[in-house]
């Protein structure tokens, strides 16, 4: 199938306010006279429909054909039958023989599609095969009212939940109990890092805090653990083990434990060959928004190369926003925030209608900046309703056919990169910075610095469960890799280099779409710029 034809059809459909299922577009392109077919379809489509579906196309083509085309129309009338049957068949086989599922389907679709052309892939757009589950969405659950107590309970919740993962590993004692222990005793403590400072002699003093108080732990500069001190952020949870000094006022650290992801962690995978596109930072409304790249991406999604892409995850910054930085209006292509979302929605419509979309807000979006950020409000949801995306809070975990993806916009990455030495975290390897967050089992540990915190009754930023995939954006750099088998992936962006980025020498990775195979967690990157 010629890509241009599909693209043209899609843009024609969007211009008329319709979103289209990929399969529907494929059918249309395959039609003898796609333009006529399109007109026909649009006439027949029910008034309340926003998405042009396969059945609409089929119905329309059927009538067209009935109108007297000489083309062999037997395959055209058949699909209405086989599609469900194949799907049903495969869904039955899912449990029994998942590995065979994809080939079966590929086989099936090609056999059907062959008559109309090589690319009219029959795809398993069967909703029954899909599963998508959201956890940790706090939209509409923001109960904090900004009181002192709210802050205290957030941090206590953090210590309880992450500390729970450490308490089994060390023989921990509360800070006040350690203060009472005699000099020379062995002690261990689980707590939040309260303070990190270097002593005059170059050692490191780390103050741990738990619900009873604080205790200082000294990491000697010549100990093996000293290297880990560089990685520490305030307010992360960790455990320390060591020996009390003679006057008991301080303990010498022998070992340090992080909540971490177990080395042996085995991620879940999907039972069939299905893919998800993990993108972020679209920045519609910016003068630097790369519309052409986005359109190329959307068009590509309509091709059979992308036939297995059934999910799309958007990790924040749909639009450029307003008032994000001073004098931003001078650099906006669309100054009105609502028009930005409308434009974004138009761009989203170009994405095949049968792709499931999940999105979280980012720091440019019109929601509160403090994390966790609830999903968009009703007004903005209404604007973006055409494609019916799932809009959830930042962060949230979405489980796609068994594969859990922790979506987080990634503001804390700036802080991790700033605080940690360059070899441990840098903008060039954003996924390495993500490894540290995985290790700390918290998406934004440090309080009081770059990241903003809105106090809620529990700490939504904790990684209670280990995700199979950790997806972030924000830094506009593409990077992915595995940390203890967890796939960490930072999407690039759809915004070309801004003046600001130029001034600080950041060269963004713009116009890339990382595609993850949910059955293998392999990543392929598609380039559209």
């Amino acid at each position: 199938m010629p890509l241009e034809a599909a693209a043209r059809l899609v843009s024609e459909l969007t211009s008329r306010g319709y979103n289209a299922e990929r399969e529907a577009v494929t059918r249309l392109t395959a039609a003898e006279n796609p333009n006529a077919a399109l007109e026909r379809v649009l006439e027949e489509v029910p008034d309340d429909a926003l998405v042009v579906r396969v059945d609409h196309v089929e119905a329309a083509l059927a009538t067209t054909d009935a109108g007297g085309t000489t083309r062999s129309d037997s395959p055209a009338s058949e699909p209405a039958e086989p599609t469900p049957s194949v799907s049903t068949g495969t869904s039955e086989t899912v449990d029994s023989d998942p590995t065979d599922q994809s080939p079966v389907e590929t086989e099936g679709s090609s056999s059907i599609g062959r008559s109309t052309g090589p690319a009219t892939a029959e795809r398993s757009a069967d909703p029954a095969l899909r599963s998508l589950e959201i956890t940790g969405d706090m939209t509409g659950e923001s109960t904090g009212t900004g009181e002192y107590e709210d802050f205290v309970s957030v941090f206590r919740d953090r210590l309880d939940r992450l500390g729970g993962k450490l308490r089994s590993r060390v023989n921990h004692r509360p800070a006040t109990a350690i203060q009472e222990m005699p000099g020379g005793s062995e002690a261990a403590m689980v707590g939040l890092v309260n303070d990190i400072r270097s002593t005059a002699s170059g050692h490191w003093l780390i103050e741990l805090e738990d619900a009873t108080g604080t205790f200082p732990w000294l990491v000697m500069k010549d100990r093996e653990y000293v290297d880990l001190v560089d990685e520490l952020l305030c307010d992360e949870v960790l455990a320390m083990e060591g020996t009390l000094a003679d006057d008991s006022g301080i303990a010498f650290v022998d070992s340090m434990y992080f909540p971490d992801v177990p080395r042996t962690y085995e991620p879940s995978t999907a039972d069939r060959h299905v893919q998800a596109a993990l993108i972020s930072d679209v920045h519609v409304g910016s003068q630097e928004f790369m519309e052409d790249a986005w359109n190329a991406f959307a068009d590509w999604l309509h091709t059979d190369q992308a036939q297995h892409v059934e999910y799309m995850l958007l990790a924040g910054d749909m639009v450029e926003g307003v008032g994000v930085y001073p004098d931003q209006d001078e650099e906006l292509d669309i100054v009105d925030i609502y028009e930005q979302y409308e434009a974004f929605s138009e761009h989203l419509k170009k994405v095949p209608g049968d792709i499931e979309i999940v999105m979280i807000p980012g720091n440019h979006d019109a929601v509160r900046l403090a994390e966790p950020q609830p999903g968009f409000d009703e007004e903005l949801r209404e604007i973006m309703s055409a494609h019916d995306p799932q809009i959830v809070s930042n962060p949230s975990t979405v489980t796609l056919e068994g594969v859990s993806v922790l979506m987080y916009h990634g503001v804390s990455l700036d802080e991790v990169i700033a605080e940690l030495p360059e070899e441990k975290a840098s903008y060039d390897d954003p996924h390495k910075a993500m490894y540290h967050l995985l290790k700390k089992r918290h998406v934004a540990p440090q309080f009081g610095g770059h990241t903003r915190l809105a106090p809620e009754e529990r700490d939504y930023l904790v990684m209670e469960e280990v995700p199979d995939i950790f997806h972030t954006g924000h830094v506009h750099k593409l990077g992915f890799g595995k940390y203890h088998n967890v796939l960490a992936i930072n999407s690039g962006c759809w915004q070309a280099q801004t003046d600001f980025q130029k001034s600080v020498n950041i060269d963004p990775d713009a116009g890339f779409a990382p595609i993850v195979d949910l059955d293998t967690l392999d990543v392929t990157v598609q380039k559209f710029s």
């Binding site: 904090g144 619900a211 604080t214 305030c234």
Partner: protein
Amino acid sequence: MRAEDERYFERLESQLENAFDVAERAKQRGGDPKPEVEIPTARDMADRVENILGIDGVAERVRELEGQMSREEAALELAEDFAEGRVGDYESKAGKVEGAVRTAVALLTEGVVAAPIEGIDKVEILQNDDGSEFVNVYYAGPIRSAGGTAQALSVLVADYTRALVGIDGYNARDEEIERYAEEISLYDKETGLQYTPKDKETKFIAKHMPIMLDGEATGDEEVSGFRDLERVDTNSARGGMCLVLAEGIALKAPKIQRYTRNLDEIDWPWLQDLIDGTYYDDAADADDEGSDADVDADDEGDGDEEDAADDGDDAADDEPEGPPRVEESTKFLRDLIAGRPVFSHPCAEGGFRLRYGRARNHGFATAGVHPAAMHLVDDFLATGTQIKTERPGKAAGVVPVDSIEGPTVKLANGDVRRIDDPADALEIRNGVEKILDLGEYLVNYGEFVENNHPLAPAAYTYEWWVQDLAAAGADVQALEDDPRIDLEFPDPEEALEWATAYDAPLHPEYTYLWHDLSVDAFCTLSEAVAAGRVEDDTLVLDYADPVRDALETIVIEHRQRESESRIEVDDWRPFVRTVGCEPRQTVADGAALEPEEQEPTIELERTWTVDDLSERARTWGHETEGDNAIEAVNEVAPFQVRERAPTRIGNRMGRPEKSERRDLSPPVHTLFPIGEAGGAQRNVADAAKHAETMSDTPGVVELQIGRQRCEACGTETFKNRCPDCNERTTPDYRCPDCDQRLEPDDAGRVECDRCEREGTCVETREIDVHEEYRDALESVGERENAFEILKGVKGLSSQNKVPEPIEKGILRAKHDVSAFKDGTVRYDMTDLPVTSVRASELDVDVGQLQALGYEEDIHGEPLTHEDQLVELKVQDIVLSDGAAEHMLQTADFIDDLLEQYYGLEPFYEFEDRQDLVGELVFGMAPHTSAATVGRVIGFTSAAVGYAHPYFHAAKRRNCDGDEDCVMLLLDGLLNFSKSFLPDQRGGKMDAPLVMSSRIDPSEIDDEAHNMDVVSQYPREFYLATREQADPEDVDVEIAEANLGTDLEYTGFEHTHDTTNIAMGPDLSAYKTLGSMMDKMDAQLELSRKLVAVDETDVAERVIEYHFLPDLIGNLRAFSRQETRCLDCGEKFRRMPLTGDCRECGGRVNLTVHKGSVNKYMQTAIQVAEEYDCRDYTKQRLEVLERSLESIFENDKNKQSGIEDFM
């Protein structure tokens, strides 16, 4: 110096000596830290330098070198003296270098600012890696006050002295070089530098610097790389060092080079590379080229500016089509805040019109505004209010000048009137519908010189016209002498006659703002005039919107009567002639028969048609073709008409004026520590009764205090006199380790040789505050009901923690005055200049002035009545009413202190404020360390301190809104002690370490030398402004011309008088209005009235620069805030997991609450709505509002309306 000047200074000095004697006697008796007066007198700069440094022999040497060479050369000469031991008593090489460097900085800052003592911490000798020695100079933050040139020269002097005493150069290690680069950018990010060298430039400088630049940490932010260096003590940015390297060496390289060339001992060949920028591997790098250009531009700034101006002229010659205009500049509108109104947008019609001249209360960064305008802008402007202005400088202090034209307003009844009388302004203020024009705005020539700003086209004013008239051949002298003629405010007939008879331009009084009218509107207007009629010597025009608008635009007085469909203009003849119409008397038939009903109907005839206008006149314009009718006017009028107000100056309110007592917060009566025992009020009486527990003795408080020892009887005490034998005590220094008693060395350092530790006399001991308090009350013979409350301090911050005798505090409390950190009583006032005064406005009589040595008025006539102007003597100052009141209280306190504490005769014995006249005070500015002696000459109701510009310049202030303080002479002499000064960086700033008894005009801030001192600007000047000439190219005499001559203290003439230096409101509305909301409402209301102001823009800016940053900042602060214990004040970076304070178990709470975050939210939304702000702004507010809701409201328990409960 003239004999009378000599007499004046001698008189001041003898008065000073008298007071000094009294103070010396008192000090010998009292329990002050020192038994003598601690402020040494300096007669000149050399004295000040010596006193501020405390190095003997410097003054003498400075005087020798002065006159022979520049100050910079003298500094280098002195460096040789230090090196060879001729000056200063230093054993060590480091000491010699230190002495030389400090002296250089002191010399270059005229011994006024604190930089030489506070900005240079120490000089030490360290070792290079090859074992050779090098010099390390430790700079501190206050080096900032020295300025770039002095900073740079200090480095040169250090290097020169080093070479002379035989120390090697510094070889920076690589990591140190890298550290400099990282640190400079860190400091720039954190604090900001005027000039930030590129990393390469920094590294180049660091690599070649022959001495090490080091310093104290000034910020909390630490460098990330190059930490823990062996030879660098801190990981934070060293602010002083950064300033010296960036704003000193990098920025002033060409200036230093001038001196290195002449010195054989040292060699800075790399400076040339630095200046040329040839230190790069890739010299072609565009950015780098740019930075070099910056460096060059600084030195050759004048030349460049000239070139630019020339270019401008050339360009103007090439295309003469268009009137000369200045460029708009919106800089002054930046950071507009709520409650401080904009008076005029940049170059906006209806705004202040630039008039050149200097009023007697003007010059030195001030702006003359008509007092009627001050009232009409709803009193937001008062004498001394600071305005941020479009040009020529950035800011100016407002002074009232009523000899310029006042504002023109349109009243609700349709009258358009020019208001030249402040009383009228007050009367009609409520009926003002629109302020069509703010009137004239007086700026003196010197301002343009000082700011190096090309002259802006001058308004056509009387001063210029009269010279035009003379140039046209009129006998101006004869006209001036004619008692029937008012040359400045003539009748319309006279004005017309002169214009036609002498062929001179039309008198400015009848010249309207034709240049603001478009050619089309002008044609319409002239048609309307031709169709008009004259009734009762009043021009009557048919009412029509275009006619009304035209008349409002040209700002002519008239009456709009919409209901009667007519517009009336009174002084119509010049106006009618200007629009090219001729009055023609039609002899009505019946007129001659009925003489009573004399109604000579005058008809008007237009003498031209639109087609008569030349192409040039039709298209004449500045922004668009044909937007300026002046050329058309000149073609149709029978005389020449000049542009009345070609330059408008935009401005907005900056800071309000100030005249307030300086109280510490909370106020302090006595510098006696009482710890926490006095409660939040620091009440000594409470502390005297305080007991922690039932078992404690009330009034016994544990305090950190200096230990003193009586040499005579060995008693240990904290007092300066032995309680047993009344002998003076000395600080009792001990080693903190071995408790060995120590004596300070010559340099005043106390160190234990055995333990190598610094000794101290501070100890924690229990003091019976109750006993001290009772004893003090008894000793001064006061009872507790003599005052409301006596406030002490929590603790002492001075090095030796010497407390002040409580007695002084009791007497301060009795007279309701409070002490500053150095023990003095101060009063702050905004500085304003004045060069001539009249007795009547100062609330003094002629006799009082005569008694002060004022014998003649400014014209040389004998002084006989109150309204004569006399030239102000340089050290005489005018106190505000508040200051006078406060001085009287202080004088009473001093008298009681002398009598009841020191046991001497009272000194002042004032009955009322007239007694203050002739008394001496100290003037003292922040960031400086030298006080200047002044003499009270009178009082003003304006909330400012008027004084001679030289007096302000001696304190290193100008008058653009700066403020400083006055102290009563004897208060300073008796109560100031260096021992009270905080032992921290900057502690010695704002303290009178030395006083100047007389002002030498050559030794003051040279900004004052640029003030013009003439009574008239020449006609050539006005013509040159039309060319936008460089101010230096115009011949107007400035004060500089008289420096060093007999005339240096006199001849400060002015071009404009003002009736009273305190006209207009006494206080700005900004200070009289209550809440921020009231102020903002008034600000927006005013913006609606002013034609020159775009109210939507004001609202946008208030939201953009005040509300949004506040909201965003507070919201950000909220979500990353620290917390504080309500009980002990301990701060926590994060909320403690215990919930309670880890220190005291007390209640911990947030430091940023919901209330402080969203306090402006609703107001901002309302303003955005009401003033029709952009959607962008409104949406930003919407997004923020939702963020606030999301954070502060429970989704499951949304705030419900009252109806839910009904």
